[in-house]
Symmetry: D2
Subunit: 154 residues, 4 copies
């Protein structure tokens, strides 16, 4: 049986993030400043973690037992984004090896989902406070698994 986003609001929150473009996001060319689109992708990642109960204050601090900083990012800009536009960011995390994962992002306009505005990727490696590589902890692996559940429906 197919469990789509209507039936599964948690899964929807983990995979989708709606965001209105704000004046601060824009630059003097009248569109969103390019690096801010990666910031919006990161917001989608935060939103997804919070949806399954991560404490973001602790997670995004230097006080935890591990961190998963971005070690690589890339992004393509296909169409400009304007103040007031309502975007939808769809994200898809994948474990790469015991220590790292990547997240793929697809950004569309909420009113025109067939038209891609931007695609991006961030890669994250798990490290300790002294920057030693660590295996991904269970809660991160669980988040990846849950975010992918039913992505290949029958």
């Amino acid at each position: 049986m197919r469990s789509d986003s209507v039936q599964n609001p948690l899964k929807n929150s983990m995979q989708n993030y709606a965001r209105t473009i704000r004046f601060k996001d824009t630059d003097a060319a009248g569109v969103v400043f390019f690096a801010n689109v990666l910031t919006i992708c990161h917001e989608a990642y935060e939103h997804s973690l919070q949806a399954i109960g991560f404490d973001l204050k602790l997670f995004f601090s230097n006080a935890g037992s591990y961190a998963v900083p971005v070690v690589h990012a890339h992004i393509n800009f296909l169409q400009p984004m304007f103040c007031g536009d309502r975007l939808l960011v769809n994200l898809n995390p994948q474990q790469l090896d015991p220590y790292s994962f990547e997240i793929n992002y697809r950004i569309t306009n909420e009113n025109s989902k067939s038209s891609l505005l931007s695609i991006a990727q961030t890669k994250h490696i798990c490290i300790s406070g002294d920057r030693t590589k660590l295996q991904l902890p269970p809660e991160i692996r669980q988040w990846i698994d849950m975010a992918n559940l039913n992505s290949d429906p029958i």
Copy 2:
């Protein structure tokens, strides 16, 4: 008869803006960077304008027949804000004279509305493209009126 926010979702949108604190909003002291709180106040203003149909792309460009830039701002920080916190910004615009208006903002935590985190104010003056002072246009005066409707209920 009292028309409260449950009965009047438009008025609620014009007066209240919910916003989750994002990692980008924070700084190395672990809390929201002070100037970003004014940015969040401005988002509440954008949200309020959009609620009654302003086209933000046009309004916040240099292509319109007028602009209402911020000419003064002040802000008090009462309690720190952390990544993942869910804020509620309540805003209240008031016309000051034919040319200008101010907006007062009260920021609380959505889970603890009695406890103020910050209060702020922005003052805006209406100008033309060549920076001549202009009278506030009807749509701005209407927005101010609507945002204040029922704020003194009987």
Copy 3:
């Protein structure tokens, strides 16, 4: 004897900060986004502290024995600032009481110093990690004293 900025480069660094407006500072109206001007003022404060040897990484972290967060800010915008403009921020710190100080900022265009672009103020209170009010430590009082030395020349 008058000790001016040519004779005293340290004092000049403590009181003046030159800053080129970047594309990221601007918004879709083609000028600097209002809250970013307060960010530029804070940069001048950081620059001043670094000039007399503060370790900014430690000072602006949550790992020190005290912090001096901004508790109030206000700002007036007198003229717009554009991408590529070269600004000069002049700052003047003053102790207010045993626990707090304020900094006054005057922003001019480096090519037209007589013409003010913006004036601003931040007020800071010294607190411990548990947010108890503390007396300003000697290094902060020394910074305030040094930044004001010779400001009333004979």
Copy 4:
């Protein structure tokens, strides 16, 4: 004859940009927020254009006859950057075809230039106001040529 940066301050300005990390650049993990490193790369590009006389206010507006927006960016983060750190960004633009160019960036700590902190790339395509692809104008081709002069010295 070799023309190094001491002999050629213009070339040095076109290829190198020094930047102190500011508090606003950092996040609650205590280091520079990842997307802000791309912003710093863009600042180096602005600095380089300004060094040979580009009017940045006009260039980075929507009022010119062409624009060269970023259509792709990628970045690797090798070591963290902290508040107060003095960075050096070295940039190298290359024309790709009649319509586009890329810029490669290498970020080091000014006190330890052998140790890379980050490498990044932005790709730019020249378009008209209606988003038609245009050939790169002479001033952009000249900037690319000048920034590369002597990069292969004998």
